[in-house]
Subunit: 175 residues, 2 copies
């Protein structure tokens, strides 16, 4: 009689790697949204306006543009949501519970749409305002607007990956 | 011996209803994107500019705003993509093939992100340009910009539903 064949090696634990990638993506989202927030709230500039025979300078702030206010709201909401998700996932690891994949699916989807709209609104408004106020508003003001939008856009890319992962984790269902 | 139990009634055919809902959503997307396109390309206005001691009027067109050009691109791309998807699905019904659910999943996801960014950029740029050019640019110009953005936003809502459906249709996989 031959000896029993050796046991196959245990399969690598995919869920752990999986959840590590998801955690890294979430941390990256928070980092990029925080960077966008800092770039945005320190964004000030001056407008040169023709007045009588000369010019006057008026100080402007990111809050003077509706779109940048929306972008700020997107940054804060996205950071708080992602942070809460991380806290809950650690809490769930300790207690052995798991959040429903459906909840993750819709949450990640909404987060990614929110970041996409924030970045798009930022890019759109910045490009048109910059071309309309060429020379009148300091270029630096719009450069920082672009930078904040780009940082949120990178956050959106990570959120889109998260959303793809949580879509694959859904239980199959014939809707 | 008892007679064999009666056969259970055949299950209702969900795929047919399912694909009918999807077809209706796709047709609605095309209708709303087409409406946005019409509103956008007919969008013209005038700018009143101080010149010497009086004012001059300059005619502007939607192509003068970068964001509206992007919105136009989004409308055309979204319509063509959705139309091709419908054509392929009819072709596949006839030949008995099915497009891979993974292809649908990524296609619907990209479509929904594209429409979301188009609408967001439109809303963002319109609101800031309108407040900056109050009185100088005819309000109607921006009203049509809002209308086009809103129509694309409705298209986005339908695309988001499509994307939810195609996520549930994915084969389960541990990414």
């Amino acid at each position: 009689m031959y000896p029993p064949p050796p046991l196959p090696p245990p399969p690598p634990p995919p869920p752990r790697t999986h959840s590590r990638i998801i955690l890294i993506l979430k941390l990256l989202i928070i980092v990029f949204l925080f960077a966008a927030l800092v770039v945005l709230v320190t964004d000030t500039g001056t407008v040169e306006l023709a007045y009588n025979t000369g010019f006057i300078s008026i100080r402007i702030h990111f809050m003077d543009m509706y779109t940048y206010r929306y972008l700020l709201g997107v940054c804060v909401t996205g950071m708080v949501y992602t942070l809460l998700q991380i806290v809950f996932s650690f809490y769930n690891i300790r207690t052995g519970n798991r959040l429903s994949p459906t909840f993750d699916f819709y949450g990640d989807k909404v987060l990614s749409y929110m970041l996409a709209t924030g970045a798009a609104a930022g890019f759109g408004a910045t490009s048109d305002m910059q071309s309309a106020f060429q020379g009148a508003i300091s270029n630096n003001f719009f450069k920082r607007g672009y930078a904040a939008s780009a940082l949120v856009f990178i956050g959106f890319i990570y959120a889109a990956f998260l959303s793809i992962f949580s879509s694959y984790a859904l239980p199959p269902k014939n809707v």
